[in-house]
């Protein structure tokens, strides 16, 4: 019951987001600022995590393939596909939900508690639009970029780990990387990135937007933003997998 109520409130917030902006230039400026915050601000952590994810995938598979008849170039192939289909979009966005999502919920929630949202409302600003739309738009553009970068770095990580540990020869790995290349998987990756980006920003905005009380509630909202985003992301991941394959 409360879940349904919350979902309705969430949809209402999203609906209010699409009213005509008061001034495009202000929304645009805010969107650029958010792109910078979300994108540039998350590059290093996304990169670092991608590097190790790729490395682990590579080494793990290499061990499993040892002594089997499966050719070594399969390691590159597996690293590529598991990264593109699943690891880069999902893990990156789970991490982003933690980093960006909690940040957004705390920022908007703080504005709510300090009556700054009321102040915007009084001025005649469409608060749902001005506070939520730029963040969602920025995420939809920037998160796919981050995911592409993440996939690339992941493969580099896989290559380095595989080759440096001597489990796979450089040429084998590179052969695997280009083996049976399926552009459709990249499309899937980008669909996921867009959907996950939308989820993690809109859910976090929602959680912040309706905060009441004090700093304890703010902390709770920020945590819930991350938890809800994560659950919805893995759920959406499953749904997308069902629809697109």
């Amino acid at each position: 019951m409360t879940l349904l109520y919350e979902f309705g409130k969430y949809l209402k917030l999203l609906g209010a987001m699409f009213r005509k902006p008061e001034k495009f230039s202000m929304y645009w400026k805010e969107t650029l600022r958010q792109m910078n915050d979300i994108g540039v601000g998350s590059l290093s952590i996304i990169g670092l995590i991608a590097l190790f994810i790729g490395a682990v995938t590579s080494v793990q598979f290499a061990y499993q393939l040892q002594g089997s008849f499966i050719p070594a170039y399969y390691i590159g192939y597996i690293v590529r596909d598991s990264t593109i289909i699943e690891l880069a979009p999902t893990i990156s966005c789970l991490v982003l939900a933690g980093k960006v999502g909690s940040n957004i919920a705390a920022e908007i929630g703080g504005m709510r508690q300090k009556e700054q949202i009321d102040a915007l409302e009084i001025m005649g600003v469409n608060t749902a639009g001005f506070l939520v739309l730029p963040k969602v738009l920025a995420a939809i553009v920037v998160v796919p970029m981050l995911v592409i970068i993440s996939a690339g770095i992941s493969m580099i990580g896989g290559y380095l780990a595989g080759v440096l540990s001597g489990l796979v020869k450089p040429t084998d790995f590179l052969t695997g990387l280009t083996y049976f290349y399926e552009p459709y998987y990249v499309f899937m990756m980008l669909v996921k990135a867009v959907v996950f980006g939308f989820i993690l920003t809109s859910v976090s905005c929602y959680k912040g937007f309706y905060v009441t009380g004090g700093s304890i509630e703010l902390g709770r909202a920020s945590t819930q933003a991350v938890v809800y985003s994560n659950i919805l992301i893995v759920f959406a991941d499953y749904v997308i997998a069902l629809i697109l394959t």
């Binding site: 008061e22 001034k23 202000m26 504005m111 700054q116 009321d118 102040a119 009084i122 001025m123």
Partner: protein, 252 residues
Amino acid sequence: MIRVEEIKKSFGEQEVLKGISVTFEQGKTNLIIGRSGAGKTVMLKILVGLLNPTAGAVYYDDLNFSTLSVKEKKKIRMQVGMLFQGSALFDSMTVEENIRFPLDMFTNDTKLEKENRVNHCLERVELEGSNKKYPGEISGGMQKRVGIARSIVMNPKYLFCDEPNSGLDPKTSILIDELIRKITIDNNITTVINTHDMNSVMEIGDNIALLYHGELAWVGNKDEVLDSPSETLQDFIFASPFLQRLRKAYNQ
């Protein structure tokens, strides 16, 4: 002019406002007074439409606010300025950006025009030169003044102030009161102020409404306060032993 009719507001079981009818006049500083928790902030938020009353209506120059369309409400909002109890400045923006924000959002003024307007408002609140500071870098009183500057930057027809001088020293309080009164008279606007500051009541109380346990206990102006027979008002005004002694002396 703003008129409210039979405003009621409940939060669950708790009835905070029990049918308030009062008129706030143009060109005057209208005060809502009452003890902490009396419902002043709730009243003000209903006046500006941040809260919906459980019953009753708010009229802006004879327009019933709650029946207006989103577009018409927005039109009125554009003529409303509000100073919040905690100033509500945007933390991520400088003083100048805070004040300029409504101009950026709603006008097509040139950069120079906006700059001039911002500086004019800063002058009015005597904060020239603080343009580049962030809210976190200035004192509470200065934040209030920036809040006032921001609320008058669009030349509002209606100005609302929620405890403009709470937490300020008496001198600064008086400055802020005088400032609000001057703006009200100069621009002939309708100003509504929440306060429990006695100085404000006696200095700028053109039109005073006392809230007590959710009801309107007294209406009048500053010249009528001392001679009013209303027990509730006298209790409220002369709350401190010091003031009670003064009153005794006054009566003798």
